[in-house]
Symmetry: C2
Subunit: 345 residues, 2 copies
Amino acid sequence: MTLQEALRLYLPPVEQALQQILTPPTEDFKPFYQMMQYHHGWLDERFRPTGQQGGKRIRPLLCLLCCGAAFGQPHELTPLAAAIELLHSFSLVHDDIQDRSPTRRHRPAVWALWGEAQAINVGDALYAAAQWSLSALAGSLEPTRVCALRSQFDETCLRLCEGQYLDLEFSSRPTVSREQYLLMIERKTAWLLGYCAWAGSFAAGVSESVAARYREFGLCLGLAFQVLDDVLGVWGAEDETGKPSSSDIVEAKKTLPYIEALAMLPADLAQELQAIYRGPESTREEAAVARARELMEQAGARRACLKLAAHYHERAVQILKELNPEPEHAEALLELVSLLSTRRS
Amino acid sequence: MTLQEALRLYLPPVEQALQQILTPPTEDFKPFYQMMQYHHGWLDERFRPTGQQGGKRIRPLLCLLCCGAAFGQPHELTPLAAAIELLHSFSLVHDDIQDRSPTRRHRPAVWALWGEAQAINVGDALYAAAQWSLSALAGSLEPTRVCALRSQFDETCLRLCEGQYLDLEFSSRPTVSREQYLLMIERKTAWLLGYCAWAGSFAAGVSESVAARYREFGLCLGLAFQVLDDVLGVWGAEDETGKPSSSDIVEAKKTLPYIEALAMLPADLAQELQAIYRGPESTREEAAVARARELMEQAGARRACLKLAAHYHERAVQILKELNPEPEHAEALLELVSLLSTRRS
C-alpha cells in the first residue's frame, strides 16, 4: 500500500471524528469551536469554510499504520488517532503564544487573531477534546486496554510539557549541551511519535516487548524528524516551510546547528556566533543572520545534523524491518519514514 | 463527623498523592515541578519549603464526602480527589494569566514570577498530571467504572473551557443577560462541583438516577458558591479575600451584581454605572469604583444576589437530605455547604 492509499483509507474517519468532537454543543459556544476549527484548517479567519484541512496528520497516520503493521484493526483506533491529532493541535496553539510566532501553516496563528487569553483557552479546550475523544475507545476495545492506552497517553502529555519547559528555559541559558538538547527534543517531539507507534501496536495485541520496539521505532523517527526540522529552521526556504527564512537564528533558538557549530568552530568564530545570538530579536539584522548561517555552514554543522538525522532514520528503518511487519502497512510506513526524513518543509 | 474531622481523615492521603505526582522525574526538570509545587503552597517563590499548603481543597473534599454519604469507600478515590484538585489548579494558573491577575492566595501568581510562557506550560502540566492521576484509579476500581469516571471528567474539562470562553468574551460585549451569565458560571464553576458530587456517589455504586441527584446537589452548591464569590468581588474586604477591594469593578467584570443593578436602576443611573465600566482599567479611579459600588448597593443588587445564593444553597441542602445520606458524612457535607454559602473570603 502506498502512503497515498493509506491516507485515503484511514484518514477520512479520523477527520470525521475530529469534526464531530469539535462541533459546538449549542449556539452560545459557536465562535469558540470555530476558533478550534480554524486551527484545523477547515475555516478561514472569518469562519468561512475553506474546503481544506491544515496539517499533515502525520501522527494519527503513524499510529494507525503501526496498528496495521502489527496485524491489528486500524479502524478501531479512530478515536485514538483523533485524540493524538488534537493533542498535537493543543501543543501548537500554546507553542505559538509562548514563542510569539504570528503565523502557523501560512496563516495567522490563533493568538494573533483572537488574542492570547482566548488562545490559551482554545489550546486547553483542544486538550480536553483530545482526552474526551479517548473515551470513545471504550466502544471498540476492552476497558483494561483503554485504561492502559490512556495512562500512557497521559504520561506522554506530561513529557511533552517537560520538553517545552526545557525549550523555553534554554533561551535564558548562556549555553546548552548536546545532551540537554537531545533530552529536550526527546520529550517535546519524539515521545509523542513513540507513543503513536507504541499505541498502534499495543491496541493490535502484540507482546509488551514488541510494543516497546515499536515505541523505539517511533522515538527514532521523532528524533530524525526534529533534527531535520532544526536544519530547516536555519537553512529552509520560506516558500516551502511557511516560516521566515532562518527563523531559528532570528529568534536565537539554541537548536542543534547552533550547538554543533559552537562545538566545532575555533574560539574566535564561536564567540562571534554567540554574540549574534545575544540580545533581543530586534537587534539581529539580516546581515547578522546571514553571517550566523554562514558560520554554522562553515563549521560543518549542517552536515553534522544531517548525519545525525540519517542515523536516527536508519535506526528507525532497521527496527521496523526486524519487527516483521505486515507488508502492506510496512510499505506505507517506510514511505512515511522517508518522507519525514527528506522533507523540505 | 465535623468538617475538621473529615479534613483530618481524608485530606492527608490526597496531599500525599498530589506531592507524589508533582515529584520531578529527574533533576533536569526540578525547577519546573517546583513551580507547580509553589502553586500548591508547599514552596515559596525561592523554592524553600513553607510547611503549608495553599488552597482549601474544597473540591476533593466534596467528592470524598459524597462518596461516604453514598455509603462508598472514600479512600479508594484518593487519585480522583487529587486529579480534581490538579484540574482546579490548572484552571487557576491559566486564569491568572488570562485575567492578568498578579496575585493568588496573597502571593504572586505563577506568571508574575516566571513569565507567561512558562506559566502556560505549568498549567498544561498540571492538567496532564490531573489526567495521569486518574490512571491510578485502575488499582482500586474496576476498569469500566474508571472509564466512566474519566469520560465524565473529560466532559467537565471541556465545559470548564466553554465557561472560560464566555467569561473572556463578556468583557468585549456591551451587555450580558442574566441567562448568559448563569450559563457562564454553570460551566466555569458549577459543573466541576457537580462532577465532584456525581463522581463520589458513582464510585460508591449508586444507581444512575441517584448519581444524577448528587450531581444536581453539586451544581447548586457551585452556583451558590459563585454568586457569593461575585458579591465578594464587589463588597469583600481585601484582608479577607486576598484580592484588592472591589476588584471586579476595577477590572470591569460583568458579574451578577452589575447585571442585576443595570436591570433595576432607573435609566440615568444605569447609564452612569455603564459609563464607569467602559474604558480601560487605568481610567477607573478610586472614587469611580466607590460610586459604582454605591449604585449597585442602592439598586438592591447585593440583596438580590444574596437571595439567589441562598436559593441555590437551600436547594442543595434539600436535595442532599432527600438522598438519605450516611449521617456522619452528611453532617460534614452540610457543614461544608454552610461554610461555602456564608464565607467572607
